[in-house]
């Protein structure tokens, strides 16, 4: 469903502590959003205790818990209001629904219930699914840029700096299938930084590549962040959350558990994670 990369960021690569800005008008209102995934596939001894008769299993009518479809409730009723000038971090254990919530706010995943109101155009950084591995890097920059909503002229104008930022060298004219994984993630990140949105969402995009690229990408994100009004940041690295955010939402199993100042919520979350012994909470469907 969503790709998550977990990296801990080195001390020297952390961005500068963000300055608090005066808060303006509300820019994002999330109203009781629920997101439910449907997953096809047989479940051996799944989550239901009842034995379904053979006929029901054979003729699957697609009902949850009886057919081959399982419903996964990723986000269950999250509500909050974000203002212009806030940098909001979203923390939670694996599978808690953070990335899903972020995509719903970005308008990329329609909620099953509830509404999202936004003031500008939100954009999710670090994601680019329009790329075709059999095409050259240059062609992919064109397609990726067009997918972001830029015009052809803008994309052509930005292509040299994107190629230089991603440090591709001669590989720019070779198919992406010949790139190393570091090169392709650098290119994806570089393509997604072509946009300068009003509501910025960053999904763990900071820690890809070697140290010099990480430094460059952190600077670039700060540049984009300065242009943006509201910033959402999803990460497992509490150090970067503390550095980048002024307010933190703690999501657990799709529920909003805490919402407040960065240091307080981060300390509470930290204590919770350290005290926990079991596997990630998101592994249970019920």
């Amino acid at each position: 469903m969503t790709d998550e990369i977990d990296y801990e960021v080195d001390e020297e690569n952390l961005p500068e502590r963000v300055e608090r800005q005066p808060l303006g008008e509300p820019s994002v209102i999330v109203d009781n959003v629920h997101i439910t995934y449907r997953v096809f596939g047989a479940r051996k001894g799944g989550t239901t205790q009842t034995k379904t008769p053979l006929l029901n299993r054979a003729i699957s009518l697609g009902r949850p818990d009886t057919g081959p479809i399982t419903e996964v409730r990723a986000v269950r009723g999250v509500s909050f209001v974000a203002r212009h000038g806030e940098s909001i971090g979203i923390v939670g254990t694996n599978g808690s629904g953070k990335s899903t919530l972020l995509r719903a706010i970005a308008g990329l995943l329609p909620p099953s219930k509830g509404r999202v109101f936004v003031s500008g155009e939100p954009a999710l950084l670090g994601v680019n699914a329009a790329l075709l591995p059999r095409l050259t890097g240059e062609r992919n920059i064109t397609i990726g840029g067009l997918a972001l909503g830029l015009s052809l002229r803008q994309v052509r104008a930005h292509t040299p700096e994107v190629a230089e930022f991603a440090e591709l060298g001669d590989f720019l004219f070779l198919p992406m299938s010949s790139y190393s994984s570091g090169m392709s993630s650098r290119l994806r990140f570089a393509i997604s930084t072509m946009q300068t949105p009003d509501i910025l969402m960053i999904d763990e995009a900071l820690a890809t590549g070697d140290a010099s690229f990480r430094k460059k990408s952190t600077e670039r994100i700060e540049q984009i962040r300065d242009h943006a009004g509201t910033v959402f940041f999803v990460s497992h690295s509490l150090a970067s959350v503390r550095a980048m955010c002024t307010r933190v939402l703690w999501i657990d199993k799709g529920l909003l558990v805490a919402d407040g100042d960065v240091d307080e919520v981060c300390d509470a979350y930290d204590a919770f994670v350290k005290g926990r012994s079991g596997a990630s909470a998101g592994a249970n469907l019920n």
């Binding site: 009723g77 109101f117 003031s119 067009l146 997918a147």
Partner: protein, 353 residues
């Protein structure tokens, strides 16, 4: 151990209630317990540090009023039709680049590469020509050049078939793309249709060459001479593409959330191949008083096949007439409009699941 003030639901209780819509309130600050002591159970979430500010969530109406006051728009709502069409037109470079890139990578990786785009339909047509052209002589009474008849019918129908199948599977195969970027979702099936149309260009050229070649086969009515009407071929192809796009958009919405549709559609497409007379003549084989004869003769795909054959103009039995063109244009524009509107009707749901 922890003091829970009123209005707060401890986390452990939440796990029991969370299937109902219990309005969630974040917990008020409670006394900080001693976290360094030994713990026999997992710490519940009612132990945040003091001073974590609480925000009671707004009710739906309050949220709506606040949104209106601040000038926010609701996300995930189907845009009005005019704005939708303008949005798609604004994305035309994206559609074109995506289609042409995908057409280019379609046959990479094989030795013959791009040649397979043309070779495959030729092989299909060759089988049909052998069976219906030479073995079953009576399959197209009155038609002089049966090989060309079958060739044109087979290539054209395969194009229609390819476009519809591309449309059915377009949204599920591009789900990652939809979930990563904001754009009018009609871009996805439209680019699939355009990919197939771009790939039809070389096939059309091969069709022309092969029709000339069939003129030299034995018992096929003599050589085929090029005419001015052949210049209308690209227009006929565009019309067929428009019609197929309408059908593809229709099935794209159906197939978006129900993968089963992708199994049913090929059955109908096979049926359609026979009901459209791709390889035999419907006019010749159906009795004049059968009830389904006008149905089959005037159904859109048969009209388009007849249009292609009429444009080639080598059969006196299939003349090109203004009525034929008019009917084709009506079918194309009408089907596209219906399919597009049907697709737009569910715009806000694509990407779900």
């Amino acid at each position: 151990m922890t003091t829970v003030t009123s209005g707060c639901v401890p986390f452990s209780d939440l796990t029991k209630n969370d299937r109902n819509d219990v309005p969630l309130k974040t917990c008020r600050a409670a006394k900080t317990p001693d976290m360094t002591g030994t713990k026999k159970e997992e710490p519940s979430l009612t132990e945040p540090k003091p001073g974590v500010p609480v925000a009671t969530p707004l009710t739906s109406d309050e949220a709506q009023t606040l949104a209106q006051q601040s000038g926010l728009r609701q996300m995930g709502v189907r845009p009005p039709l005019r704005r939708y069409i303008r949005g798609i037109w604004g994305r035309r470079s994206f559609i074109w680049n995506l289609s042409s890139s995908r057409a280019y990578v379609r046959n990479q990786g094989s030795y013959l590469g791009q040649a397979w785009t043309v070779l495959r339909p030729i092989l299909d047509a060759a089988t049909m020509i052998i069976i219906f052209g030479f073995l079953f002589h009576g399959s197209a009474p009155g038609i002089e050049n049966r090989a060309a008849f079958i060739l044109i019918g087979s290539f054209s129908y395969s194009f229609f078939q390819g476009v519809v199948m591309a449309g059915v599977g377009s949204i599920p195969s591009d789900l990652q793309l939809i979930r990563s970027h904001q754009f009018p979702r009609a871009v996805v099936p439209l680019s699939a249709v355009l990919t197939e149309t771009v790939l039809f260009g070389p096939i059309l050229a091969a069709m022309v060459v092969l029709v000339i070649v069939t003129g030299f086969l034995p018992d096929m009515g003599g050589p085929v001479s090029p005419r001015w009407s052949w210049l209308l071929l690209p227009i006929a192809a565009m019309l067929l593409s428009l019609f197929s796009a309408g059908v593809a958009l229709f099935f794209a919405r159906l197939g978006a959330r129900t993968p089963d549709i992708a199994n049913i559609v090929p059955f109908f497409l096979s049926l359609g191949r026979f009901a459209s007379g791709a390889t035999f003549s419907i006019a010749g084989l159906t009795g004049h008083d059968s009830w389904f004869r006008p149905l089959l003769l005037y159904q859109p795909v048969q009209i388009f096949l007849e249009l292609f054959r009429a444009v080639f103009g080598n059969e006196p039995l299939i003349p090109m007439s203004a009525g034929l063109w008019l009917l084709a244009i009506l079918y194309a524009v009408g089907t596209f409009s219906i399919g597009f509107l049907f697709f737009w009707g569910a715009e806000e749901t694509y990407g779900r699941d």
